[in-house]
Amino acid sequence: MAEEVVVKKTRPPLDPNSAKFKLGQIAAKAYSDAMEAKARGEKVGWISSNFPVEIPETLGIHVCYPENQAAGIAARGGGARLCEVAEADGYSNDICAYARISLAYAKIKDAPEQNMPQPDFVLCCNNICNCMIKWYENLAKDLNIPFIMLDIPFNPDNEVSDEQVAYVKGQFLAAIKQLEEITGKKWSDERFKEVMENSCRTSRAWLDATAQAKYTPSPFNGFDLLNHMAVMVTARGKVEAAEAMETLAREYKENHANGKSTFRGEEKHRIMFEGIACWPWLRVTATGLRDRGINMVTTIYADAFGFIYDDFDSMIRAYCRVPNSINLETSRDKRIKLCKDNNVEGLLVHVNRSCKLWSGFMNEMSRQIGEACDIPVTSFDGDQADPRNFSEAQYDTRVQGLTEIMETRKEAKA
């Protein structure tokens, strides 16, 4: 019997000047800074991913992102364990898995995959979903802590109305006052201006980096974006984030100039991936594409974190335009633009069991995108954090089907 030899690959240490290193440090530092702040006796908050980061950043308040934590826990294999803790408490397994993981973490207060300090208050913005309100209501109730609610309603129209801006602005100012009272920290207009500048600078660099997928082959593997996105969520108001994103954009441009890419192998096909990543099955979903020479060159995240604005009102408008807060037509047009700008040849849709809003009108929207861009569309069932809602076999079959259609179309064009 032949003895199996397992050769463990060792990765070379990262260059500390590389974007990957810098971005990794920033993401990790967000957690360690919050831990240290908590240890010093400062009040620390939990915050939803599209709450205006400008508020806590200006006030110098440390916050942690439960969605980011849940994704990290799920990617490191802890999703099912924490989901089951929440389910044992009576939460339906139909509820968003990020919420289940977070409610479980608030109860058991330990997850070796990604710990973070317990909150003294929560900052909730529902511009990504109303599920967020329910999740944070239960957190605040269970932990008996203050709840700061910034309601940014789903906009059924193409433009953000002045009435919506006024409503959000009023709440924005109230949230600052509430936070000043809770934390004892004071708002500074001067600091706010700096934070807005940083946030726009980071966003511009992000857009610049992600736009490099316009080249064929793309100078990066789109799965990189899923990792780097953490910094866009948690730290875009920091100058370090702006610098790291600018480094990323520079590297991608250099890759293109030097004929390099972070996508390993030949880029045979280029697709857009729609939806939140399947964090528990990240390797499987990435490998299933890479092995077929498919590069996921863009996602809506490329556009989602482009918070570019000139002043207070336009900042409010930017937060009213995040994905999931906009109507089908605006959502569709953003994706069509990404597909066309980046020479996308197919659309792979993650029908995410956790996200009713993202999946609830995706059928119609993806049909319209497919028609407008003349590309094939395929979907697979999965979940952002509950590993039990994904079938590797189904994913493989669907991706294979998409590949064959893209190949056939290429042959026909040749």
């Binding site: 339906s92 509820i95 109303n130 609610m149 309601d151 602005k169």
Partner: protein
């Protein structure tokens, strides 16, 4: 009319919404569909239009699957299905509020799935009880009125709205009285009680108020009852098989916290010089509901308090499968009941349930434990 004749009338209306719609259309009236929940019916009514509830139906889903994934609740799915099948043909518009994520999706899908019936969005604020919230909700109401004018040719006026608010406040008051009265009338079955509420979606409020007042007068002396008193909670509790189980197992619903039943009648619009201000104040004052931001979870306490006041022996949460807001609230509601030593059961339902199976077993076990 006797009590039984009145109950038969409520049943006829509740069971035949299409006939009601045809009747109104034949009278030359225009019908506007109102999706769940808290659609500003007063505005529709004030413009001389007939608001008709569109809460879906107990039918097999087929075409809605072209739009919705399987994990969207059956209320949204069946509303879309009925729209696509042509059941709502003749309606001038549908007003869909966006108080939950699935409702947002229903509106977006509706535009393409049922292009013949214009979609009118109603965007409510969650931070509702403050000046910016009230101003925003008024903007939402104005937009609904403007869209209705466009879709129907009818005209909106604050004066007419003020009159409609009176009609709706009166109906609310009668429904609250009826709710209280029915708690001591076990001879009215749970299925009949449901008809009283459900029929209100398919009649003008003036007509329904008259019938409800007649029923109040027609209720006889309270007979002795061995029924087990319960409080129901949830979005919808009108499935015939479920109501039949409640009745067959000897339960009496003595109060409810159901969105399609009593929740909508709890709050009146106050008197204000401007009618839209009054309507905005009404929404600002609304509470105790899974789709309205409620950090204190007062809803859970209200359910317990109501059960205690009405002498209920248990709370039954009728959970519409895939309804996020209710699924989140289920945990604090259960905890509040447990803290008050009030038995609590959760039964999961959807609009495609021909056979209750598991739900019936849960209810049988509850009855046996309460009778033990």
């Amino acid at each position: 009319m006797s009590m039984n004749e009145l109950l038969a009338r409520f049943h006829d209306v509740a069971a035949n919404p299409s006939a009601q719609m045809k009747k109104y259309l034949a009278e030359g009236k225009k019908v506007v569909l109102t999706a769940p929940v808290y659609t500003p019916e007063e505005i529709i009514h004030s413009m001389g239009l007939v608001p008709m509830g569109a809460w879906g139906g107990d039918l097999v889903l087929d075409r809605a699957k072209e739009y919705f994934p399987a994990f969207i609740c059956s209320i949204m799915q069946s509303i879309l299905e009925l729209g696509m099948k042509g059941t709502y043909d003749g309606a001038s518009a549908i007003v869909i509020p966006s108080l939950c994520d699935s409702l947002k999706c229903l509106g977006q899908n509706w535009k393409y799935a049922v292009p013949g019936i214009p979609f009118i969005p109603m965007t409510y604020p969650q931070n509702r009880n403050n000046e910016v919230g009230k101003t925003f909700v008024k903007a939402g109401y104005r937009r609904v009125a403007a869209d209705l004018e466009k879709a129907t040719g009818a005209v909106f006026s604050e004066e007419a709205l003020a009159e409609s608010i009176k009609v709706y406040n009166k109906h609310n008051a009668v429904m609250r009285k009826l709710d209280e009265a029915l708690a001591s009338h076990p001879e009215v079955t749970n299925a009949q009680r449901s008809d009283v509420y459900k029929s209100a979606f398919f009649m003008t409020k003036e007509e329904h108020t008259v019938l409800a007042e007649k029923l109040l007068s027609a209720l006889n002396e309270t007979p002795a009852s061995g029924k087990v008193k319960i409080v129901t909670s949830g979005i919808l509790c009108d499935a015939p098989s479920l109501l039949e189980s409640f009745d067959a197992l000897g339960f009496q619903i003595v109060a409810d916290d159901v969105a399609a039943e009593s929740r909508q009648y709890r709050t009146d619009a106050p008197e204000k010089p401007e009618a839209l201000d009054a309507l905005a104040e009404k929404f600002a004052a609304m509470d105790n509901c899974s789709v309205l931001f409620d950090v204190e979870k007062k809803r859970a306490d209200l359910i317990v308090k109501t059960a205690q006041e009405r002498g209920a022996k248990a709370v039954v949460l009728v959970l519409t499968k895939f309804c996020d807001p209710e699924e989140f609230d289920a945990v604090p509601v259960r905890r509040a009941c447990e803290a008050a030593d009030l038995p609590f059961v959760l039964i999961e339902v959807d609009r495609q349930m021909a056979d209750l199976g598991q739900a019936r077993t849960i209810l049988e076990t509850l009855r046996d434990s309460l009778n033990a």
